[in-house]
């Protein structure tokens, strides 16, 4: 088990630019039933954000409901139906939290215990793998567990 390295279980994952339309990112996730997205910028080779699906779902939650979750129950059906449409014209940068979140990143030669520890600690079902400071791919929780059981 100790011999398996992060780069051996890495998966290719959709990478989206931070300035691309938020609606496209939501569509990509929905149509391909993905676990999440990797967000990058034009200025860096390392990921800007790792967004599990649950965080992408957050895109359609209006900011004021995020401020006061109790208001979710007050939303009428017609308002709820328009929630995704409100993303029109917005970029991923617009809907990401203004304060940059911690990005779970492991090195390509890290062991799966190191990867598992990071996933558990930051409660993220996916982490980015970098090799020579460049994004190499992503490891999902299910892939990691499969590798662990195989050993």
């Amino acid at each position: 088990m100790g011999c398996v390295r992060a780069e051996e279980i890495v998966e290719e994952f959709p990478v989206v630019n931070i300035d691309s339309p938020a609606l496209d990112a939501v569509r990509l996730l929905a149509e391909h039933r993905l676990n999440g997205l990797v967000v990058v910028t034009n200025t860096s080779d390392t990921p800007y954000a790792i967004l599990p699906a649950s965080q992408v779902v957050r895109f359609i939650v209006p900011g004021y409901v995020q401020e006061d979750p109790g208001l979710a129950g007050v939303f009428t059906e017609s308002m709820a139906d328009q929630a995704a449409a409100k993303l029109g014209g917005k970029t991923i940068r617009d809907v990401l939290p203004k304060q940059r979140q911690y990005v779970p990143v492991v090195d390509a030669d890290d062991t799966i215990i190191e990867v598992a520890e990071l996933m558990a600690r930051v409660r993220s079902p996916l982490v980015a793998v970098v090799k020579k400071r460049r994004l190499h791919g992503v490891i999902t929780a299910s892939r990691l567990l499969a590798a662990a059981l195989k050993d």
Binding site: P62, Y64, E67, D68, T76, M79
Partner: protein, 428 residues
Amino acid sequence: MYYAITVFLLAYAFIISERFNQTKVALVGAGLMVCLPVMDSPDVFYSEDNGIDWDVIFLMLGMMMIVSILRQTGVFEYVAIWAVKRANGSPMRIMMLLMVVMAFASAILPNVVSVLLIAPVTLLVCDALDINPVPLLMAEVFASNVGGAATLVGDPPNIIIGARKSLSFNAFLVNMAPIVVIVMLVLLAVTPLLFRGLSAVSAERVAAVMSLQESDAIRDRRLLVRCVVVMVVVLAGFIVSPAIHIAPSLVALLGAGILILTSRLEQSEYLSNVEWDTLLFMVGLFIMVGGLFKTGVIKMLGRLAAEFTGGNVLLTTMLILVISTLVSGFIDNVPYVATMTPIVGHLASTITGPHHHHVLWWSLALGGDLGGNLTAVGSSANIVMLGIAMRSGHPISFGEFTRKGIVITTISTALCAVYLWLRYFVLA
């Protein structure tokens, strides 16, 4: 004395610069006061004049715990939506009704909490009406700063003044609430002039707002009933506290304790609104100001101020009002009032005759509270509101806020000056 002055001025400069965490600065300053040594343990923990004012700390802690539990009910969102529906979709009427709700909420809750509760509802309503929320958000925070001045527990400066001078909840209600009502009425009257050009709304949008169900905002009806009962008991406790000889801080702690026991909420929930940072900041401030008091600096400043005004009470009252308004417009009113309280105490001790009793304290409270409307950084509530506005994609600039803030603060200060003069000098 020079050590105390140097530490205090340096800490104040660092706090005002906002380059460092203000709590850390206050605690480092307090630590230096102890190490130099200006203050010792009995001074810090047990001295009524120089030490930490535990009444203030525990009143704030008790209210923060009550608010943490009250927030879980959704009652304020309910009231806000109910009020909005009474406006029949008119943006101007909605703005004015939400201002009234905000002022009432701020009188019994910390202003920051009122903003955190009402601002999201405002954004929801503006989203449904498809109107710009900026005028409503600004008008609400102005109302919050005004409403908070009405009671002992509405604004931290009032808590500090009340505890230091042993002014009761009733004393604040009788002396502060009347002028707060007057200022609020005038504020409501000038609101249509200040915020002109609110767009008309289509019938379809109005229907969307009218279809909001306020009852859906209530998350836990049983908890709501318990909270209402306890809040009524706590408010009654504040009113009768001088008669039953139980300090407001203990009333708040008992209320919080009953709610914790009966609500069965998790620790993380009933402590969710406890701002430990703020409480520690105040502990640090009390120790630093205590250092100035113990070394005679406060007495000296008080004597200088008394010489400057020549013992003229009316002049002293008006100077405290204007200076407090201006200073509170630019720096946090908590450190300002914490520093001014012993100075005003010294000035008040030089006043003879019963008629002007406490007038300097009301002047300090009004200036400290209402000065928060002067600029965008005048109060914590303003900063929180600006943050919410920015996150919602409707940023409010410093200039935009301050232009309106200057008008409102000028009007409110003039009203307060007339009120203080009439009530405590002409009609006394």
